[in-house]
Symmetry: C2
Subunit: 329 residues, 2 copies
């Protein structure tokens, strides 16, 4: 295992301290996995969280216009309810807190318990579960579809709604609308190595990729021969559009890398995605290309489409200022 | 070779079209390798360029407050003078153009020839050569030190100076000061595969890393056993500080990934860099962590320090809006 780490047991704690050191706008609450904004905001709080190893998600999205706190569990393992409760408290300014949950059994259970604990302490909460992965119906670690890259776009919409001063129920409604409007499908070309394990989680043959593989290496739908960028865009987007049922008037597109794929390839894939969508008559409002949600050093990608109506468009266009996503007013 | 591409011969052209599709503020001038801002700026132009495969450098830094154009050659190959001339013309608003050149023999020769061609067409030019890599004195492809991650910080300073409306000579002076104030050292843990070659350029043993390896895989100074994050920070920063000769009052730190190293590891390395610098009494004005200059999917990192006086600090703090680096006012 070749990694720039110290002790494999301490990677999450040391990473979070490294994030705090890099970003003066956030603080790390020691031993809790919680990265939170330094100052109280006076608005509805928005939090998310999950296993580590998907950076910059979620801690990289803490800041103005997105999340108020992010809770990191161990690598690929959900944070426990006590930690999530710490995150909820950090995000609370007395107006209630929205929990954005990716649909994995562990996250659903732990966020739900944390939400109950928070309510017992008098903090109002609401939740939205993201299930954007169209590749599988159920998976080894979720009932129903998994939440993947679409989650970042839900963070953006919810964060912008909260920053606009909307009350909790309205922030929840808009985040739910965002979650309902977003679809993702991915493809993996290599495995990744958990620091505490020390060897790759699975093997893929030299000429093989796995469609719909999960961001923890859990099984996808099909192993196929290596595809060109053009074929990759077609296979992933056709499945997404089929699931949406119709071409919506306007989309945001996210071309996401899983950590080990060079930007060069993501841009080539983006070119193919644009050509494919243009031929389908789909208009793009905005395109995001980069490593937004990763699986350590896994090679591969995902494509995400969010259908944007006027309401979602204006929230997507709102300014934000986080480590991993900045937008000027 | 597992890559999301179509034809290995077309990767640069298709990548640049993909960049144009992702960013409405830039245009790709077909068959020239030039990504340029869409609108003329009325200020001194700033351009850079070099071989492809180091994305987001340089094309990702085209935009307000940084570059006006970037010229991409083939993968790991300098663009020819005609292409650079196209970039100079695209960046020119009648106030002259600054060329930021990384110190590789090919880039130095081609940018110098392009500069002469531009002067013959009546465009005033000035140049700054970046030589921030402290690991080697000469290399297989440079006379003197190579230009690596520090180049991005020079782009930032020069771009801010041009945006402030300074004349060409003043923009050049400030860019030169930035280049003189920046030092970098890197470390590689794996090779990378050029699309047109199809196999890794070299091999490193499972427990081996190479100190000072170049961003094209050219030799560094020493192969060493795998180091911890703490040792890595110490080895790289000690060499940098030794070269600077004294601890400057204030630094910018860049923790750069070479493409295949997860953010988790870069943040852990950042933690160690901060601890090391704190113990040396060095104050950090700002920290950048991410993939700023890469070598395709190579695993590894570099650390960069730029000493900041008041003048450089205010230019570092100025707003910018590019794909790969945004800063709000």
């Amino acid at each position: 295992m070749k990694k720039i780490i110290n002790d494999p047991q301490n990677v999450v704690e040391e990473m979070l301290e490294g994030i705090e050191a890099a970003n003066p706008d956030v603080k790390y609450i020691e031993n809790t996995g919680v990265i939170a904004r330094r100052s109280k905001t006076g608005k509805v709080g928005v939090i998310s969280g999950g296993g580590s190893g998907h950076e910059p998600m979620h801690a990289g999205y803490v800041g103005e216009g997105m999340l108020d706190a992010a809770v990191s569990g161990n690598v690929f393992a959900s944070p426990d309810p006590e930690k999530i409760l710490t995150g909820i408290k950090a995000a609370d300014s007395g107006k209630g807190v929205l929990l954005i949950i990716t649909n994995y059994s562990g996250d659903c259970m732990n966020f739900s318990m944390a939400s109950e604990l928070a309510e017992m302490e008098g903090i109002e909460t609401a939740s939205v579960v993201v299930r954007d992965d169209v590749s599988v119906k159920d998976s080894t670690i979720s009932t129903g579809r998994r939440g993947i890259a679409g989650t970042i776009l839900v963070h953006k919409i919810a964060g912008a709604a909260a920053a606009a001063g909307y009350p909790l129920e309205e922030v929840r409604r808009l985040a739910q609308k965002a979650a309902d409007s977003v679809r993702t499908m991915g493809m993996a070309m290599s495995s990744c190595t958990l620091p505490a394990v020390g060897k790759p989680g699975f093997e893929l043959a030299d000429d093989e990729t796995e469609l719909g593989m999960g961001i923890h290496g859990e099984p996808g739908v099909q192993r196929v021969k290596l595809m060109t960028a053009k074929e990759t865009a077609k296979v992933l987007l056709e499945r997404i559009l089929e699931d949406m049922g119709k071409i919506m008037p306007k989309f945001a597109l996210m071309v996401n890398g899983l950590g080990g794929t060079p930007l060069m390839e993501l841009y080539i894939l983006n070119r193919e995605a644009h050509i494919f969508l243009q031929n389908k008559g789909a208009a793009l409002h905005e395109t995001f290309v980069g490593n937004y949600i990763t699986s350590l050093e896994m090679a591969g990608c995902s494509l995400t489409l969010m259908a944007l109506d006027e309401e979602l468009t204006s929230l997507m266009d709102a300014p934000c200022d986080t480590m991993a996503w900045k937008r000027r007013a």
